[in-house]
Amino acid sequence: MFDYPIFEMPFIGQRMLMAINAIIHVFVSHGGAVGGSIVLAAMAWWANKKNDMAAYNLTFKVVMVFFIVSTSVGALTGVGMWIHANILSPNAIGGLIRVFFWKWFIEWIVFNFEVVLLLLLFMSWKKNQETAQGRAKTIRIGVYYAISSWLTMVIITAILAFMLTPNFDGQPWVDPEVYPGNVNYNNALFNPTWWPSLAFRTFTSIAFAAALAIMWTWIIATFSKNEEDKEAKARLVKFLAGIMLITVPISAIFGYWYYTEIPAAALAMIPTAVMTRAFEDRFDLMYLIAIGIGGSIIITTIIAYFSPKRMPYLAASLMVAGFLVLWGYEERVREFIRKPFLIYNYMYSNGIRVTDVPYLNKVGILEHAVFLDENKKRVNEDKSNIIEVGKSVFQIECRICHTQNGINGLKGLTTGWSHDAIRNRLNNLPGGGTPYMPPFVGTEAEKDALAAYIKSLNTKGVIK
């Protein structure tokens, strides 16, 4: 990371910048596109099979909502993942693209099918709805759309799983001591968490999409002036709740399989990942929250299935909210347990490759920082620029997770610490109850400078 220009996101920090985009994308891509395509195709098929034209027409209105959100917010935040990753960690995303270029290229080809089929489904629906053959055609397009959507998830899941579990035992994806690194593409692709995470994501996506479809069916029917919509609502909601009753337990089973494949060191991070650092020892609270949210989803689903007309007011949106919380947490945990790595055992969270550490400890992390001013790279004889140099070290090694004085700000974290305390803490960052932190990398002089800089954040009158 040291060899790229420095971009610092004030206050919210780099991680939060990425998280905003990532969370939006996960919700829309899983609920809207992958699960959505499957659920929408199922709705159209079911309504047509029952010859229920009111439900079929109501389905189109739900399709329209999914179309608008998937093609705008979903697609663009997907590209956004790349751009944000470029900004946060060019070395990590650059490495991933070297490993997965052709898989990504195939995914892009599949994306073409997905987008064209979605446009076709949406834009030809009205024209095709009059005749039985036309409706059969629409449903066929819907099924192809669902297949292509799911295939895009197959590939991206492999890449996400690779970051957590890049290696088979004894079957490394790359020899880090060879330059240029000769990648074993098969070992990289067929990594241990690919299949379980794919199975888990597939069924949770369908369940989530069904919940979203229930919510939108409910909203559209409530505000519709068309009596047929109101009357078709209960039938569609019952069908969708049926989908949830099947997929929620299956997701739980695959979720457990996924859990068993996660490396032990990563599992140890879960309490902090779930409860944040402040509450990491109150893991029991997590069970309560999970049981609360999971229970309310199950209860609303059962009500929706057995008594769709009497489904409580707003219960549908609460169910979606429950899914959002659970899914947001799943993503947070998945991102967190990988720490202190971005690519497990290969690259630390701050983009420094594990094998570069001994060399950088010798020559210094700032030695090759080409985009930094020379007077911010080495401490002068009289130490007049020690804080600037320390800030450079902060910008290269720490800023991916820490801000100066915002979210996870170093100022707040070290309030009341002496210079010696900070200096000593830098000797062993992964120790002292923070195993998710990468070690300090650089020379002793750079460590002194970083300590001086961190101390200056809490010292009045020091110009930062």
Binding site: D3, Y4, P5, F7, M9, L17, M64, T71, S72, V73, L76, T77, V79, G80, W82, I83, N86, I87, P90, N91, I93, G94, G95, I97, R98, V99, F101, W104, F105, W108, F111, V115, L119, M123, P176, E177, Y179, G181, N182, V183, E280, D281, R353, T355, P358, Y359, V370, F371, S418, D420, A421, N424, R425, N427, N428, G431, G432, G433, T434, P435
Partner: protein, 442 residues
């Protein structure tokens, strides 16, 4: 020259053994498809608003119908344009990783406008399209929505073009430090001018074509509007573009422009201009025909597409001559860095292998290995209290073991100690040692 370049990614580039020219051609093709959709997006969204306004003033429902139909072209081209933009990004990311990411970082966070600004533009364009009939009696409001969508779309090329201009001229990495430094330069201005002119020109010929198709299908009135308006768009935008295009290779830095003159790429913009002159005269010749055949329109479209393709090839030529030197420099620097780094890593591993096993019964070594010394020292207060202070204050072994294993707070200071990953037996070794410190200092 003051080159500032990041290292290359130290993993082999997955070219499958194909020559770099293959990726150049692939890049040109996907880029041309992408840019044609983007031209159409800019043109169709603008046309839809213009003819919506004209429909109101002329009180002619055919203009309104034409404007509404253009929103379908907006929808398709915005989706396909975004999608086909991904492929060039992917090719560039894998081949020229360092240059592309450096450019992105230099224009951050403004580059994120192509995500968030684009989402807003998409949603506004959908709002415009899907509210067409509902807002039939509120035309002012409806046109305002359409206009905001167009304005939002128009901001995107400014941001994106700034990034690509920086990426294609790596010598600027040393001097350009934010997006405005590169946006307000002749190179960006000139290329944007060419971009918008080509967008209107290309939309013009496409409008002639779809108008001709509508006439053929029997929708005479709306077809005639599309044909006559399409001709005007094309004839207005093309002449200036004919002049601008041959100048484009010379707006880059002197190093690049000079290098380009020694290659065949320099002829392409001239050929491109000549093709446009032919297309211009051809359309001008049909100016008074109210109705043209789709074949006629296709001929003009073919000339325009070939000219766009030649300009995209020139652009690739700029990339090739510009990157030759920095790519070589980068490869050499990366190789030096990696060899030094790997040598040091091997040395470190050897030292580690020769190191005797740690004696974890020794409390000092145990404390070090468990990370205790990150926060504590024997005699000085660091993050936590010194061990001496602890041994003077608390003599109960069970309390101390519990504090180590499960964490402790508010006894010495406001900074709490988190729970440590340690067994009770190990904790006992540490506690015995800590308590022994008091005795030795008596």
């Amino acid at each position: 020259m003051n080159w500032k370049l990041p290292f290359d990614i130290p993993l082999i580039t997955p070219t499958l053994g194909l020559p770099l020219e293959f990726f150049s051609i692939l890049g040109i093709i996907v880029f041309v498809v992408h840019i044609c959709f983007i031209y159409m997006l800019i043109g169709a969204s603008t046309a839809s608003v213009i003819y919506n306004i004209m429909g109101v003033f002329k009180k002619d429902s055919n203009y309104d119908k034409f404007a509404y139909r253009m929103t379908n072209y907006t929808t398709v081209s915005e989706n396909m344009g975004a999608l086909w933009g991904v492929a060039p990004l992917l090719v560039i990311s894998v081949l020229f990783t360092g240059f592309f990411y450096t450019a992105i970082l230099k224009v951050s966070p403004h580059i994120l406008h192509i995500i968030y600004g684009n989402i807003i533009a998409f949603l506004l364009s959908y709002a415009y399209k899907f509210s067409w009939h509902a807002l039939q009696n509120h035309k002012g409001f409806h046109i305002a929505i359409g206009l905001s969508a167009v304005l939002a779309f128009f901001t995107l090329p400014f941001v994106f073009m700034s990034m690509t201009n920086l990426y294609m001229q790596p010598e600027l990495f040393a001097t350009i430090n934010n997006i405005w430094d590169i946006m307000f330069t002749p190179v960006t201005g000139f290329r944007l001018l060419n971009f918008f002119l080509t967008a209107f020109m290309a939309t013009g010929v496409v409008m002639i074509f779809i108008g001709a198709r509508w006439v053929k299908k029997g929708e005479i009135e709306v077809g005639k509007i599309a044909i006559s308006q399409g001709k005007k768009w094309f004839l207005l935008a093309t002449p200036l573009n004919i002049v601008v295009m041959p100048l484009l290779p010379f707006v880059f830095t002197a190093r690049i422009s000079e290098a380009l003159m020694h290659t065949g790429f320099i002829y392409l913009p001239f050929i491109s201009s000549i093709l446009l002159i032919i297309a211009f005269l051809y359309v001008l010749n049909k100016f008074n025909d109210e109705v043209v055949t789709p074949q006629t329109a296709l001929r003009a479209i073919a000339l325009v597409v070939v000219s766009i393709f030649l300009m995209a090839t020139t652009r690739e030529g700029v990339r090739v001559v510009s990157f030759a030197e920095p790519l070589a420099l980068q490869a050499q620097a990366t190789s030096e860095f990696m060899n030094a780094s790997i040598a040091e890593y091997k040395k470190y591993k050897e030292e580690l292998a020769n190191k005797p096993a740690m004696d974890l019964k020794n409390p000092v070594i145990l404390a070090e290995s468990k990370g205790c010394l990150a926060c504590h020292s024997v005699d000085v207060k660091l993050v936590g209290p010194s061990y001496l202070e602890v041994s003077n204050k608390e003599r109960n072994k069970d309390v101390l073991i519990h504090s180590i294993q499960y964490g402790s707070a508010n006894k010495y200071d406001v900074i709490p100690m988190p729970a440590q990953d340690i067994t009770a037996d190990e904790a006992l070794i540490l506690v015995d040692w800590i308590l022994s410190l008091k005795d030795t200092n008596k």
